[in-house]
């Protein structure tokens, strides 16, 4: 009985609240443009309930993403290392921070991150959501090397930002939480799902015989056997977003996931990257050690190095790797390149 009255009371309260809307600016709810194939094949993307997408939030996030105001000396924006023309990564092996100091990790492309269902970001999974990830580069000494208090102060004194925050979040007091919420909203809209291979799966394009054979190599346990970690026609993310040691090193200078979990069994494990947009994302691997796809394919074919945590799926490590024929290597490369999405890197919504 008491429960019921509380319920009706709440209802009444709800009704009485719903009229005041005229006073405050309400941001317009926005939704992601989910590619047809993702709709068919995948579960819904992750959008946290405490950061729903709005048109104003996304626009603000985009402005912030390209704005050098976030860095210590106004020389770097997120886009400095996450260039839209490069599928939101950069062409350097290690990126140059504001102080000219280089990190030890290759910048990562940014797309389809709302489909990283476990929400473990960065090469080693150390960032537990897109919102929390965005806190890091601003204060990282080898990246933008700012202090959040300085950044929010500068934004607060800016001629446009206070209004934009007001419109996106209904508050004009800017803090790091709101900045990262806006950035994360923009990042979620960065969706890539229109490669030639997507077109092929939708029946709108044809593969060359080389691309078709390359796909078969990718899917064949006795040849490439890549699909267990890197997706497939049924998982068009082209990654499992899990952590593996794919045999790059016998001894690790970067422990990867192991540094995050503290578990030596995780040493040398990194998150499988998506194989979309490889045409734009060289160099490859967490430390950018491979400049070309040929080097990557040779690695899996004959260059594997054994270590205690190497993934069991790197099954032929004792023979150096899967030992692909020259033809299969060339075709595999042709297939991999068919996963690149020219529309994504040219999308005007994603440019400065």
């Amino acid at each position: 009985m008491i429960k019921k009255s509380i319920y009706t009371l709440l209802l009444l309260l709800l009704m009485s609240c719903s009229s005041k809307e005229e006073d405050v600016y309400t941001p317009k709810p926005a939704s992601l443009k989910i590619p047809e194939l993702f709709q068919q094949k995948l579960i819904a993307p992750v959008i946290p309930t405490n950061n729903p997408l709005t048109e104003e939030g996304i626009a603000l996030g985009k402005k912030l993403f390209f704005d050098k105001i976030l860095s210590k000396d106004n020389t770097q924006s997120c886009a400095t290392c996450h260039n839209p023309k490069k599928a939101f990564t950069d062409e350097n092996r290690f990126s140059d921070g504001v102080n000219g100091t280089f990190g030890t990790r290759n910048s990562m492309p940014i797309f389809n991150l709302a489909w990283n269902f476990d929400e473990r970001f960065a090469w080693d999974g150390k960032e537990l959501s897109l919102e929390r990830q965005a806190l890091e580069p601003v204060r990282n000494p080898i990246e933008m090397h700012s202090k959040w208090t300085n950044v929010t102060e500068r934004l607060q004194n800016h001629s446009e930002y206070p209004t934009l925050f007001q419109q996106a979040f209904g508050v004009s007091k800017i803090d790091s939480t709101l900045v990262t919420k806006a950035l994360a909203q923009f990042e979620r809209t960065l969706i890539s799902g229109n490669s030639k291979f997507d077109q092929f799966l939708l029946g709108k394009a044809q593969l060359t015989p080389e691309e078709q054979n390359g796909f078969d190599v990718f899917m064949d346990e006795t040849r490439g056997d890549c699909f267990h970690c890197h997706g497939s026609n049924n998982n068009p993310l082209w990654t499992d977003n899990k952590f593996h040691n794919n045999g790059l090193d016998a001894v690790f200078s970067d422990l990867g996931l192991g540094k995050v979990t503290g578990d030596p069994n995780d040493n040398g494990k990194f998150r499988s990257p998506s194989l979309r947009n490889l045409k734009f994302t060289a160099p490859y691997m967490h430390d950018g050690r491979f400049a070309t796809l040929d080097e990557v394919i040779n690695h899996y074919s004959t260059g594997l190095k054994s270590s205690p945590t190497i993934d069991p799926l790197m099954k032929k490590v004792n023979q150096g790797g899967v030992n692909l024929s020259d033809k299969d290597k060339a075709d595999l490369k042709a297939f991999l390149l068919s996963l690149s999405d020219n529309d994504f890197v040219a999308n005007p919504n994603f440019q400065e």
């Binding site: 579960i43 899917m219 997706g231 497939s232 799926l313 099954k315």
Partner: protein
């Protein structure tokens, strides 16, 4: 207008919430999947750490174990079946993925409990497939007939040359490359009779050692990887799965 609708709906809701004094009690059941090696419980912390010895004496460690259970069925004395909607992809690395909680209620009473390991062919090749299983990279290449994995058991073993070597004991429907057809190697497991009096949690145990034991003593030096396209290996794995891998554990209610 909307507000009246809400009010109306909530009134409707209230009107339903009282009468609950039927004669037979309706209860819910949950299924808790546990794994062991000949009786020693295997937990997440054992992965990559604990060394096991299989029937042939080969030493091995486990790094990954995921398997699919479908068509969990309770059959009452009159032979009436309740087949729970859905399926469970059990993943031993994720504690939230060890329990299957169907929403359907059943009446208290005695039942026979059975389930399917993997998907039968009808479920496996359902038009459109399964978005959650695709998202978990659980699919099988179309060149092997498509559908989904039944199990991925991966780890390392000490081979004849005293070298660590990876194994990937992946079970799927057996693909016959001559006929281009998938032979259904999923199987029904009869877990025996249970008596349900209250809301219950039922433990279903997998003895991983049995996959290497009976009737086929598994030789990892011969069969360790690339088993998906291996029709004969799939038949052998299925045979081992049918005999003694699964059993009924505790029932708490």
């Amino acid at each position: 207008m909307k507000q009246y609708l809400i009010l109306f709906l909530s009134l409707l809701l209230f009107s339903c919430s009282s009468d609950n004094d039927e004669l037979t009690k309706e209860v819910t059941v949950k299924f808790n999947f546990t794994q062991n090696w000949d009786g020693t419980v295997i937990e997440k912390s054992d992965l990559s750490n604990t060394e096991y010895t299989n029937k042939l004496g080969t030493k091995l460690t486990i790094e990954k174990l995921r398997y699919l259970i479908s068509k969990i069925t309770l059959t009452n004395g009159a032979g009436v079946e309740t087949i729970f909607e859905g399926y469970k992809l059990v993943d031993i690395t994720e504690s939230e993925n060890l329990t299957f909680s169907p929403t359907e209620k059943i009446s208290e009473g005695a039942y026979n409990l059975s389930m399917t390991f993997g998907f039968n062919n009808a479920d496996n090749f359902k038009a459109g497939g399964y978005a959650d299983l695709n998202s978990a990279s659980w699919d099988v290449p179309d060149t092997l007939g498509g559908g989904y994995h039944y199990m991925q058991l991966e780890g390392k073993f000490l081979n004849k040359n005293i070298q660590q070597q990876g194994f990937a004991y992946h079970t799927i429907g057996a693909y016959n490359s001559t006929t281009k057809e998938v032979e259904d190697t999923s199987f029904t497991v009869d877990l025996g009779t249970i008596s349900i009096k209250n809301n219950a949690t039922i433990e279903v145990k997998m003895n991983v050692a049995e996959w290497f034991k009976n009737p086929n003593e598994w030789d990892l030096d011969v069969l360790n990887s690339m088993l998906m396209p291996n029709y004969d290996a799939q038949k052998l794995m299925s045979a081992n799965g049918k005999s003694g891998v699964f059993s009924l554990g505790n029932i708490s209610q």
